[in-house]
Amino acid sequence: MSGNVKIKAFTSYFFDKSSEVAVCKFEYTAKNGMVYSGLTNVIEFDAEGVICYLMPAIRLSSELFNSGGIVQMSVSSNGEDFSNSLPFTYLLNVTITEVYPQYVPVNSSLPSVVTINGANFFYVNDTGLLAVRLTRISKNRENVTSR
């Protein structure tokens, strides 16, 4: 994930969620032991916790950006005293190289299995969802504008 995403921390005893200096901290420990950290401001909050923008991986470490990894996230109402931290995983961007077959019979009596090749696919947990979204675009491909 490359950033520009909101992340919510579920908190208790957060002293002042509306504080202008309330922040989320992201801390990454590189393979060589170097520790990189960054702060983003709390932009929203509710009864459950606070919401910040996720720190873009490239702002923390090129290693994290290139390989993905686990970051420890904590929060603070004053920018100095931080909570315990919990792990958050940055995954590499998913890329797709091929869908096969590209032609599927509409009236087949047998199931047509479609395979998607690419890189950086990942397993979703038991409560997550791995799915494919199908959208009809046109009867005539020449009418389809490039996206």
Partner: protein, 51 residues
């Protein structure tokens, strides 16, 4: 429409719901991991045809 897919560690696969679409429909395919959708662009288009 959304259909469930499987991941075997290398590729993602799904059973195409051919009865939902018509002959000569072009269909885009997008992968959704945990409600985050990845657009496949040009490589993700499938043409439906009649046997």
């Amino acid at each position: 429409m959304q259909v469930p897919a499987a991941f075997d560690g290398e590729v993602i696969s799904f059973i195409f719901p051919f009865n939902v679409f018509d002959d000569k429909d072009w269909v885009t395919v997008e992968v959704t991991f945990d409600n985050i959708t990845y657009d496949l662009a040009e490589t993700g288009r499938i043409l439906i045809y009649k046997l």
